[in-house]
């Protein structure tokens, strides 16, 4: 055998990113290659995303193997994102995983995308038992490990924070991805305009905030940068408040920030502030592993494979609406 430890190939395919990561069983990253769908206009049309992934999956897998300096036959396990996400897109990941599993006669394992975000954060940031704020285009979740599960303490009641920012960005004519552009725009203003601030216990709602911001833009009485600033300040203050509330309630001493929106410096600053207030260690997952990537799937696949063994092929069905708090986490005791 060319490699001392077993190798896993992880496939991320829940939304706009098709990503393949190769990792050894000790958690060493060997390669990761992404292909991301960028819409010309509008949001993610599942059909168009699916087409792009179908056209690119082979190239990405080949590139990942080349970067890792290994061959397909060196791989010992295939992990793929089986939930949650857009059905047609999850399907491609599952089909490619099953095909490779059959061809190479190796086990394949399905992984929950949200749990993968937390697990790769724990590995990369070297922390043990964090309260996690996971913010992305698809999810807004405050989670911590309790009673053998990743419990959801707070979440959005309607749209996700990333989705809200992207929609707002589109309305003011900014192309995808909107997050970094809104962050830049917000920097140009210091004028706060009051917007709806909706927190229910540890849950949040962003749809009213979005509508109000859109109305401000349509009214043409404020600078676009003022609205962007106020939108960001309001939304992030809400996120920070519920994170702090969950932190006070769970009494965890580590805080992890992950997901695509974790790249926002202002949000990092705010979460860092409350972590310090509660004497908790604060870590942001490095951007490469905070957004959707194949490595997080690979690593979570390893964890589940080691504790549960080879799954039945029937257990590799996709589940577009699986909640992370329904799954037990046997590798954490």
């Amino acid at each position: 055998m060319k490699f001392n430890t077993k190798l896993v190939l992880g496939i991320e395919s829940t939304a706009h990113t098709w990503s393949v990561g190769i990792m050894d069983f000790n958690g060493k990253v060997m390669s990761v290659v992404n292909d991301t769908f960028i819409p010309d206009k509008g949001g993610l049309h599942p059909y168009l995303v699916k087409e792009q992934h179908l056209n690119n999956f082979k190239r990405v897998i080949r590139q990942a193997l080349r970067d890792a300096n290994c061959k397909m036959c060196d791989i010992d396990l295939i992990a793929f994102s089986k939930s949650p996400g857009l059905g047609p897109i999850l399907k491609i990941g599952a089909q490619v995983a099953r095909m490779l599993g059959q061809l190479l006669n190796i086990p394949i394992i399905g992984v929950n995308h949200c749990i993968a975000h937390i697990e790769i954060g724990r590995l990369m940031c070297n922390i043990e038992d964090p309260l996690t704020l996971y913010v992305s285009g698809g999810n807004t979740i405050v989670s911590a490990y309790e009673s053998n599960k990743y419990q959801i303490f707070g979440e959005t009641l309607d749209i996700s924070i990333g989705n809200m920012i992207d929609m707002f960005a589109r309305d003011i004519g900014l192309s995808h991805p909107g997050g970094p552009k809104i962050e830049k725009l917000a920097h140009q203003s210091k004028r706060y305009v009051q917007l709806p601030y909706v927190v229910k216990g540890m849950d949040l709602s962003f749809s009213g905030l979005y509508t109000a911001a859109k109305k401000l833009i349509d009214s043409k009485t404020y600078e676009i940068s003022d609205v962007a600033y106020s939108l960001q300040e309001t939304a992030f203050a809400m996120l920070t408040e519920v994170t702090e509330r969950a932190l006070a309630h769970t009494e965890k001493d580590e805080v992890l920030l992950t997901g695509g929106v974790a790249a926002n410096k202002r949000l990092q600053e705010m979460i860092a502030y409350i972590s310090k207030e509660h004497n908790a260690k604060f870590e942001v997952v490095p951007l490469k592993y905070a957004g959707d990537n194949g490595i997080m799937i690979a690593w979570t696949g390893i964890l589940r494979y080691i504790s549960e063994g080879r799954p039945n092929l029937l257990n590799t069905m996709i589940d577009p609406k699986e909640r992370m708090d329904t799954l037990t986490i046997p590798w954490r005791k």
Partner: protein, 228 residues
């Protein structure tokens, strides 16, 4: 220490998401100082709006709710300028901290009583807004006290009451998973027992609506949506 003509801040008890709690004395009485300190992470205007609004909101709610016979701390002083509430110190323990120390047989009557208190709150048109086991204090005599009314709202709608119960249900599942079923059932029984005394018993509708809220949530499967 507790001179009868002075106000003494003794020590910090807890840093919450909204406020810092200090223990001390107010003209000889043992009190809690709930200070909504400025949160430097927040935009200045937004910060002052939130702090002022919630201080007034909580102060008013505590006074109103107390009049209706619900166990909450007595408000001694409401200082909106400094976002400060001075209230009676309730001797007891947070339900969250008490849970591991209780036998199962002790938990059931306790949750039944919590249910009764929340029902009285709802019947009188109050929504707590943040019912968690951290916001319930149990005294030595096993009396139930509700605290933290910063997110309080006035409402008579079934939806708002269901949301209140839904939040509590979620906290029980995530924090006290093993005790969830018997405790939540006892809670609902206590809740319904108060409503049964009324002519219009809305409790069935309110409880039924919890599952409607759950089905509206994220990542709920279609078959559960249709047949719930």
């Amino acid at each position: 220490m507790s001179a009868s003509n002075s106000i003494v801040w003794e020590k910090i008890l807890r840093k919450g998401a909204e406020a810092n709690l200090y223990e001390g004395y107010w003209f000889g009485k043992k009190v809690i100082f709930k200070h909504r300190i400025k949160k430097d992470y927040r935009e200045n205007i937004l910060d002052s709006i939130i702090r002022a609004k919630r201080t007034i909101n909580e102060g008013r709610a505590l006074i109103k709710v107390k009049e209706e016979g619900i166990n909450v701390p007595q408000v001694y002083e409401l200082d909106t300028e400094n976002a400060l509430i001075i209230m009676k110190y309730i001797e007891g323990q947070k339900l969250k901290d008490l849970m591991p120390k209780l036998a199962n047989s002790e938990k059931i009557p306790l949750f039944y009583n919590v249910g009764k208190q929340i029902a009285t709150l709802h019947i009188n048109g109050h929504i707590h807004g943040d019912i968690t086991t951290s916001n319930i204090i149990i005294t030595e005599e096993k009396q139930v006290f509700l605290i933290d009314f910063g997110l309080h709202e006035y409402s008579d709608s079934i939806e708002d009451k269901s949301v209140d119960l839904h939040l509590f249900k979620r906290v029980l599942i995530s924090t006290h998973g093993k005790d969830f079923k018997p405790c939540f059932n006892a809670f609902l029984e206590g809740y319904q027992s108060e409503y049964k005394l009324l002519e219009n018993d809305d409790s069935k509708l309110i409880i039924k609506n919890i599952s409607a809220i759950e089905r509206r949530g994220r990542y709920v499967k279609r078959d559960e949506k249709e047949f719930g």
